[in-house]
């Protein structure tokens, strides 16, 4: 679909996204630039970007991808190493990282989709990818066992700052961009095709959809966004190592996506940000006595959603709207 058509048809959603971005940008003022809260909020919005990206492969295309940190880690480490070793600015490095993540996605996705690996097999394979990269980068020739630090250079040039508000704003902007990308996909032919694939691959194929091609496209778009954000993840973590290929958090991203509701951009955002804030809170208060408590909570929420609201937060929203707004569904379209 052309850009003009997209803008005119999705005006409401585009404006909504921009307004959300504007409001988020004001938050630092509301919390008096408190460093601790800004760090948590930056992390939460970063997870917002991850889960919104996951929505492309998991929500639209319906592939239960558990490899988020394979792409985040690889993209981030590429940008970090380019910066540390060759002094390349992260503004270039992040794009290189995104490119490398997309190449990895293509290398994994092509044979996977070619041989029709899906459902639980796809999930397991993608989960294994994170573990494999974790092991590969543990090799002494690569990152070894040590933590690596970014050079102590600060400023917009390096996206590193002594305080967190600038990073927070940068993440806010990328979140808005990621949401707009999703919105564009959702309203375009690609979005229709991916949803059809999610619903029924065989029926989609019989309607002329090149299922493999579209799945690969979705995987690469997801990997590209994650690879781009990898450097930000490292900046927030402070260091990078083979641990950057983080399995539990890769699964967390998928869980957040499912709780948000497959294919819902607002659901992905809401679920990621609230769950991450709750998770960080629990970790800082109970983390010492009950390690992994946040993962337990995510798991429980997932089960509750699975039992009562398989459509996730987005589904809750739709039922609330149906209940309280006596309006026919058709009226809201145009």
């Amino acid at each position: 679909m052309g850009w003009g058509e997209w803008i005119s048809e999705s005006k409401r959603y585009i404006i909504g996204t921009l307004v959300l971005g504007g409001l988020l940008a004001l938050v630092p003022f509301a919390i008096n630039f408190d460093m601790y809260y800004l760090l948590i909020l930056s992390t939460a919005l970063l997870y917002g970007v991850y889960v919104v990206a996951w929505n492309i492969i998991g929500g639209y295309a319906g592939q239960l991808d558990l490899a988020a940190f394979a792409y985040i880690g690889l993209g981030g480490i590429v940008a970090a190493e380019l910066f540390t070793i060759y002094g390349v600015t992260p503004w270039v490095g992040m794009f290189v990282g995104a490119g490398v993540a997309m190449i990895l996605a293509a290398a994994i996705g092509y044979p996977t989709f070619r041989f029709g690996i899906k459902d639980v097999w796809y999930a397991l394979m993608s989960a294994a990818l994170v573990v494999i990269l974790n092991n590969i980068f543990h090799l002494p020739e690569l990152l070894g066992s040590l933590d690596h630090y970014l050079p102590s250079k600060y400023g917009w040039m390096y996206l590193r700052f002594p305080t967190y508000e600038n990073l927070y704003w940068f993440v806010t902007v990328t979140l808005v961009v990621a949401m707009l990308i999703n919105l564009k996909i959702s309203h375009s032919k690609t979005g229709y095709y991916l949803r059809a694939i999610r619903e029924d691959e065989l029926a989609a194929e019989a309607l002329g959809i090149d299922v493999r091609k579209y799945k690969l496209l979705a995987l690469m778009m997801y990997a590209g966004i994650l690879g781009f954000m990898g450097y930000v993840s490292i900046v927030i973590q402070g260091t990078y190592s083979y641990h950057t290929f983080d399995s539990p958090n890769s699964i967390t991203i998928a869980i957040m996506g499912i709780i948000g509701g497959l294919g819902s951009i607002a659901g992905a955002f809401t679920s990621a940000v609230t769950l991450k804030i709750i998770g960080e809170y629990l970790r800082s208060t109970l983390g010492a006595s009950i390690p992994g408590i946040h993962l337990l909570i995510y798991g429980l929420l997932l089960i509750i959603v699975g039992i009562f609201k398989p459509d996730g937060l987005a589904g809750v929203w739709v039922s609330l709207k149906k209940k309280f707004v006596k309006k026919n569904v058709r009226g809201e379209k145009k």
């Binding site: 032919k189 029926a203 090149d210």
Partner: protein, 245 residues
């Protein structure tokens, strides 16, 4: 009809499942603009034959030629892009998509603009008699019969050259069946769309088809005009399981 040009040629197609020969050396032609009925008792191999034509299965022997081009063993989406569309005996709905979105997926095969594809989808839905208030209902919330119509609509929306219908009328009430038959006749007349119709309901398929093929235990056992078929002893035997006198 046989004077027209062949849209589809099936030559000696064989498909086995383990020990069962589901389709056994079946050959026939479909001519431009005709409605070919395909009948046969349960397990005769009709659906498997459709699957061989549409690329869901690759035939173990034989050839499928569409508009003079060999399509045997091509991938399903390529066959669909060439213009062979089908509906499914066991419905395969897009449960979490609305009726209109589902049909739009079909329309997007030939129409680039999503807006125009949605308009086309709406037009097709109206044409096949789907009530407007169903357009925004999710696939999982409609009835089986509506599924059949949506399935037909999304195939039609692609602008097919050959349409394979696998028991679209099954489960319809008599008057609904008559409406559907009228719609199919209209599509056939106005759009010149060639069709193969698999159906157990004899009245439906006899009234609709220009010509019929009968399958039994994987083989084609008869071919001809509806009235010839109705009186063919082999067909009667296949259906009733008794030897004709």
């Amino acid at each position: 009809m046989s004077s027209g040009k062949a849209v589809l040629e099936v030559n000696g197609v064989v498909k086995r499942f383990g020990g069962i020969i589901a389709v056994n050396k079946v050959s026939f032609k479909v001519y431009e603009g005709e409605i070919l009925g395909l009948i046969g008792p349960n397990g005769a191999g009709k659906t498997t034959l459709f699957n061989c034509i549409t690329g869901v299965y690759t035939p173990e022997e034989g050839h499928v030629v569409f508009l003079g081009q060999e399509i045997t063993g091509l991938q399903p989406h390529i066959i669909a892009q060439k213009g062979i569309l089908r509906t499914w005996q066991k419905v395969r709905p897009f449960k979490k998509m609305t009726v209109l979105d589902t049909v739009t997926v079909g329309a997007l095969l030939r129409i680039k603009s999503v807006r125009k594809a949605r308009e086309k989808a709406a037009e097709i839905l109206r044409f096949i008699g789907m009530p407007e208030e169903k357009f925004d209902v999710l696939g999982r919330e409609i009835t089986l019969i509506e599924h059949k119509l949506v399935d037909l609509a999304r195939a039609l929306a692609t602008g097919p050259k050959l349409l394979l219908l696998d028991e679209v009328a099954a489960g319809l009430r008599p008057h609904e069946m008559e409406e559907l038959a009228n719609v199919l006749r209209k599509i056939n007349k106005e759009k010149g769309l060639t069709m193969i119709v698999v159906e157990h309901v004899m009245r439906f398929v006899m009234g609709l088809s220009n010509r019929l093929i009968v399958m039994h235990e994987g083989q084609k056992i008869a071919e001809g005009k509806p009235e010839e078929i109705a009186n063919d002893p082999r067909v009667i035997e296949a259906y009733l399981g008794t030897k004709p006198l």
